[in-house]
Amino acid sequence: MSKPVFVYVIYIAASPERVWEALTKADVSERFWFGYRVTADGKPGTRMTAIDPAGRQVHDDPIIESDPPRKLVYGWKSLYKDLPDERASRVTFLLEPLKDQTRLTVTHDDFDEGSRMFEMISKGWPAVLSSLKSFLETGRGLAATWGEEERRRAVES
């Protein structure tokens, strides 16, 4: 058995600059990333942070490589306490221009064998990247009610 690697390729009718912005700016990410505010626009050595729709910080990971708008690599460890406690893995975004489109390849690797988190991210990325494509091509991401419910619960508690 080998270490699991997740790879997903998606073609988006938008420039690499727009895809980059969506992946790195919180004000844009929250519109398609199911309400998550993801910030990853700094230089290597700065942090990638993510805030969930309830306002909790769920990521504080190192940016390993940043070459806008071509390549972004960051560490990945969820801070959610109810998820498997595994060491940090790694996410690589490769943005390749094709005329006025972008071929986006997401590789999520550096998991240990038998990682449970790997199973979860393998389900999560297709949803996030499908929503990213819809958002950039139609102005609307795929809708999720999760954010509204979590926000309401956070306000009520």
């Binding site: 005329k99 489109q101 949803a127 795929l142 999760w146």
Partner: protein, 153 residues
Amino acid sequence: MAKPQFVYVTYIRSTPEKVWAALTDPQTVRKFWFGMNVACDFKPGSPWSLSFEDGRVADIGEILEAEPPRRLVIRWRNEFRPELKAEGYSRCTMSIELAEYYPGMGGKAVKLTIQHELEGEGGKLIEAVSGGWPKVLSNLKSYLETGDVAFKE
């Protein structure tokens, strides 16, 4: 060892009926599948083929299962690249369902899952379809959501 296979999931803002119709209507297939012509009545046991615009046959096979609008299984062999043809038949399963993006996430869209598996040994056909499916499915999603395709060569 597991058989070589390719799996791809895409979520589409559409209905299962429209996704099924797009995958089985030759005029629509031509629009998102780079001009390919599909010939099939999509009934179990029927022959199936994909041809290029100039008439050359790209892939042949037969429909193993067809349950509109949920499930389509095609027995599939490449015809135009000898090294792929030599690997023999593969099995392509298309599953269409209205699904949540993630457990507890709430929102729903059409979840289209393509699983493409070789019946025998070898890895060239699966490698080839691994490059092709993301283009075709990205275009299908764009076509259903915007009326246009994303990937133009």
